[in-house]
């Protein structure tokens, strides 16, 4: 690759250049905070253990992301047995109804106790071409930040529900609490590359990389070089649980406990 200028640098110089790129990205605040993309990249450059799990407080703009709300609504439907849950490629009914009806494989629920339920599924940000175009054109800074930093991540919902007879044929399901957490793997595909503005453009610093070039082609095989040299490491991203307060998710719902599931 004739344009892989980072390949000509030492691993230490590459890592320092990545750090300066993260600094440039962190200059524009997102929702008043450092962009999550910059936070994750700086963590990558500090990390030395590829088996590490690094914990982060959930950025406000992740908690309120429309993609997250869309997946939370799906989780609610799964908890209320209105939609099937997906498990390793196969779909099946889960949630309150199989427990009320005492299906085999489920602990019978008599409504009197608090029922704990969890469900996890993928949030995809900019998964298809149309969505990618929408994010870059009319998406918010928040969406663009999550798109660059995580793109796709696992969202886990943990709820506590109680039930009560609402009428002869209906049961009311009340969400007592709902918390969410998220997880992902921060790593680069070493076979990919992209062009980025050069953070050293116009710099007079001694260690500046190609200060005459406005942009630099970034081949992720250079990420492997700095990882192999112990100057960075991929990691598991664990976003700490946050409390869900959206009334549209927490509202009580009446269901038919005798509904036949197909």
């Amino acid at each position: 690759m004739a344009d892989d200028y980072l390949a000509q640098l030492t691993e230490e110089q590459v890592a320092a250049w990545y750090g300066r790129l993260a600094d440039v990205i962190s200059k524009k605040k997102v929702s008043g905070s450092e962009p999550f993309a910059a936070t994750l990249m700086k963590t990558y450059l500090r990390n030395r253990d590829p088996k590490a799990t690094c914990e982060f407080d959930a950025p406000d703009h992740l908690k309120s992301l429309s993609y997250v709300l869309g997946v939370q609504k799906f989780h609610r439907d799964v908890f209320l047995t209105k939609q099937k849950g997906s498990f390793s490629g196969s779909e099946k009914w889960v949630g309150v109804l199989p427990r009320i009806q005492g299906w085999s494989g489920f602990t019978k629920w008599n409504l009197s106790s608090t029922l704990d339920l969890t469900y996890e599924s993928l949030v995809e940000v900019g998964s298809g071409y149309a969505d990618l175009v929408r994010i870059q054109l009319s998406g918010t800074d928040q969406e663009r930040d999550i798109f660059a930093s995580l793109r796709g991540f696992q969202l886990k919902s943990a709820v506590k529900v109680v039930g009560a007879k609402a009428s002869a044929s209906k049961v009311k399901i009340i969400f007592q609490s709902w918390s969410c957490s998220a997880s992902d793997r921060y790593d680069f595909d070493y076979s990919e590359h992209l062009k980025m503005p050069n953070p050293d453009y116009g710099s007079k610093a001694k260690d500046a990389v190609r200060p005459g070039d406005e942009s630099i082609e970034v081949y992720h095989k250079n990420a492997k070089r700095i990882e192999d040299k112990g100057l960075a490491a991929p990691f598991d991203v664990a976003i700490k649980p946050w409390i869900v307060t959206d009334a549209s998710l927490l509202r009580a719902e009446e269901i038919d406990p005798a509904r036949k599931l197909r």
């Binding site: 071409y129 990618l132 870059q136 992209l194 980025m196 503005p197 710099s203």
Partner: protein, 202 residues
């Protein structure tokens, strides 16, 4: 009651008289063409080109189509046009110039001309985004006549076997601005009564 009615009429008249005429964003259709965008690439790749208008923004999409080895890989140039104020704000721009000069006091004028290129009335680069999901960067400018904002974004993530086709965003922005100014001048020559834009605020 009568006074209130009169007040309402005056207010409505004021609203009508100050409302800006609907912007004809389609004037850019003859400026931002697939050919023009292609000319800003060093490798002149085949591009899928589309344009559409949504919520007061006219959008020109140029996608470099290549064989993907993974979903998520892409190379996309997006040019959006809206009325002045849609993407840029003059006071915010001035503040950004001042902050950049402070933050990068060690850089020379070449750097500042790059951050704030001399395109149209004023222009500025957008903060880049970078991560395993890809990267994006861009720049926006206001047309010389203060009527429109134009925003250019490049978003990409390429597989190893596909070389970067070499889009020069600044060159493209300059070409759009030059063509637009040329068309405006032509239009002004045809309509001598056209009022000159107010440049007094800069």
């Amino acid at each position: 009651m009568r006074a209130w009615k009169h007040g309402t009429v005056f207010a409505l008249l004021a609203l009508v008289s100050t409302a800006a005429p609907a912007a004809d964003l389609a004037v850019f259709d003859s400026i931002i063409t697939a050919r023009l965008i292609r000319s800003a690439f060093s490798r002149r790749p085949a591009l899928k080109f589309r344009s559409h208008e949504k919520e007061g923004t006219r959008v020109y999409e140029a996608e470099y189509a290549f064989r993907r080895s993974k979903p998520g890989q892409h190379y996309l140039c997006l040019v959006s046009v809206g009325v002045a104020g849609k993407f840029l704000d003059w006071p915010a721009h001035q503040q950004r110039v001042a902050e950049t000069r402070k933050q990068y006091s060690d850089r020379d004028e070449v750097f500042f001309r790059h951050e704030f290129p001399a395109i149209g009335r004023f222009a500025q680069r957008a903060s880049p985004a970078f991560g395993p999901g890809g990267g994006s960067y861009g720049l926006s400018f206001r047309t010389t006549d203060d009527l429109y904002d134009v925003r250019l974004i490049l978003s990409s993530l390429l597989p190893e076997h596909v070389a970067d086709p070499g889009l020069d965003l600044e060159r493209l922005a300059t070409a759009i601005s030059t063509r637009y100014d040329g068309q405006s001048r032509k239009h002004q020559r045809k309509s001598p009564e056209t009022a000159k834009p107010d440049h007094s605020r800069k």
